[in-house]
């Protein structure tokens, strides 16, 4: 599924210019401006309620924002999105394979999975080490397993821009390692990634750039430049999200 592809970057660059968002007279985002370079893995950090998810939804065109968000596609235009959670009744008889089938095809998942999608689904699940759990019900999965399934769906079709809304939250160590490995592969393929991440250690190790959002941009740059102790304390105050 993953093919070696060096320069130029397959992912787009993204330019946020004076982005603002106001919902029910509450300012969520104000004058947010920064750039995500093509093929970069760009992390968004910041305190909870700071507007990171709203910024991502604005990027996806799902929020009535002001200002300008420009995506400069260089090749394909496929967006993969890894949401935080699925909102469903955990007793529902929907298996992992059912869910992946619903992602791929229009024919109802209760009839069958088309043959051409079976391999695609198995490959995506294999990448996140979930291929042996295809017949598990979604409600029986642990938080980490669910995150891996949500990650797998974002790989179908293979994305040029991958947007991750805190996939590491509540994930187990095995799941975290699996996701890190895939992200490194995607990075090599120069897929542009925008990743909301609270794990500052991971951000330092993996990100090409990081932007801290708390209504506004508090700082933006490479992790080595901007992730100083003072700035992190300034951003998170006395909360537990230390580096």
């Amino acid at each position: 599924m993953l093919t070696k592809n060096e320069d130029p970057p397959r992912g787009p660059s993204i330019c946020f210019e004076m982005v603002g968002l106001c919902l029910s007279n509450i300012t969520i985002l104000q004058d947010v401006s920064f750039t995500v370079k093509a093929g970069d893995m760009h992390c968004l950090i910041g305190p909870n309620g700071g507007g990171k998810t709203s910024l991502i939804l604005s990027l996806l065109g799902q929020m009535p924002h002001t200002g300008r968000i420009e995506i400069n596609w260089t090749g394909g235009t496929t967006i993969g999105y890894v949401p935080q959670v699925l909102d469903f009744d955990r007793t529902l008889p929907v298996t992992v394979n059912n869910f992946m089938t619903m992602i791929c095809q229009n024919m109802p998942a209760f009839i069958r999975t088309r043959k051409r999608y079976k391999d695609i689904i198995n490959n995506a699940l294999r990448l996140v080490s979930m291929d042996t759990k295809g017949e598990r019900r979604l409600g029986e999965l642990s938080g980490g397993e669910m995150q891996r399934v949500l990650f797998a769906q974002a790989l179908i079709p293979f994305p040029d821009l991958l947007i991750l809304d805190e996939p590491g939250a509540g994930i187990d160590s095995v799941g975290a390692r699996v996701i890190e490995e895939i992200i490194l592969v995607l990075k090599k393929q120069k897929v542009t990634m925008v990743w909301i991440n609270h794990d500052l250690k991971q951000v330092k190790q993996m990100a090409d750039a990081v932007t801290c959002i708390h209504k506004q941009v508090l700082f933006s740059g490479t992790p080595d430049e901007v992730l100083t102790t003072e700035r992190v304390f300034q951003a998170f105050g006395t909360t537990s999200h230390g580096p």
């Binding site: 799902q62 699925l86 209760f110």
Partner: protein, 302 residues
């Protein structure tokens, strides 16, 4: 469809006269109600899986109540009290659409909003019924509330066929997308799914199938057939395939048994009530099976 109906009916009547089928099958109203049951059962059972998945059981109850008001409006406007379809469809569709429209524009939780609309609908119905009682015997409304196989005519069947076709067409075409939209609307939108459009479409489907079911199951009880078979199916199934097919099967069996048994045993109960009681029986049995499977996991493999 009408030609199929006209060609099958004489065959069934001959089989009934020659003793191969119960004697009651030679009556047109019995045949009509069974045809309605065989069409309605799978459709309601199938849509029921979506209703349960999208957690909209309470919504279908609101539409059922709106149907009562729709009938009352129809009678006031001079439509025949046995089939006031123009008012029924008009009022229920406006009611359903207004509910979704309001939901998408307020921050109210769905259950609160549905409760508000349900009460408004009942209040309008109660007020109009006062005038209706001056025009027709109010007991006629029992048929609308609880269903009656005696009143199912060819017009009802034709309405049912058309509505069922629309629901099957839309349901099969958009099933996956409707489920995904309820799991995570943002993810669905990224994947190009028109979440709001599908929300309206689904509400429209539930509304029109509810109205089409009013004559045989009854306005008050349609909701039960959208929910109970799907809940029974959930007790037994481990995947969407089982969920859908068990639900359609339980729903169809409930409709057929609920019509045939009271007729054969000459028990004077409304068809809707009998159908729901059969569905409730399936629910009780499947719940017991589920508990047994939990207590003895080896049974789960059977």
């Amino acid at each position: 469809m009408v030609s199929i109906y006209n060609s099958i009916m004489p065959v069934v009547q001959r089989l009934a006269e020659s003793g191969w089928l119960p004697e009651s099958f030679k009556y047109a109203f019995v045949f009509n109600s069974l045809v309605a049951a065989l069409v309605l059962g799978p459709v309601l059972g199938g849509i029921g899986t979506l209703v349960v998945t999208k957690r909209l059981a309470f919504f279908s109850q609101a539409i059922g109540n709106a149907a009562l008001t729709g009938v009352a409006i129809g009678i006031i406007l001079g439509e025949p009290y046995t089939s006031p379809y123009v008012s029924l469809f008009s009022f229920c569709i406006i009611f359903g659409m207004a509910m979704v429209f309001t939901k998408n524009r307020t921050k109210m939780t769905t259950d609160t909003l549905i409760a508000v609309f349900l009460c408004i609908s009942l209040a309008i119905g109660a007020c109009i019924l006062l005038y209706v009682t001056a025009k027709v015997n109010v007991h006629v409304l029992d048929n609308v509330l609880f269903g009656s196989i005696l009143t199912v005519n060819e017009l009802d069947l034709n309405v049912l066929f058309v509505i069922s076709f629309i629901c099957i067409f839309c349901g099969l075409g958009f099933y996956n997308r409707m489920v995904l939209s309820s799991f995570n609307p943002n993810l669905a939108r990224v994947r190009g799914i028109k979440v709001i459009f599908l929300e309206y479409l689904f509400i429209l489907m539930v509304t029109i199938i509810t109205v089409a079911s009013v004559k045989i199951i009854g306005a008050i009880l349609v909701e039960a057939l959208l929910v109970i078979p799907a809940a029974s199916a959930r007790n037994l199934s481990r995947s969407m395939r089982g969920f859908f097919f068990y639900s359609a099967t339980f729903s169809t069996l409930s409709c057929v048994i609920g019509i045939v048994i009271p007729m054969e045993l000459e028990i004077p109960v409304p068809s809707g009530g009998a159908i729901i009681l059969v569905a409730a029986f399936f629910f009780a049995v499947t719940t017991a099976i589920r508990r047994l499977r939990r207590a003895y996991p080896a049974l789960g493999k059977i």
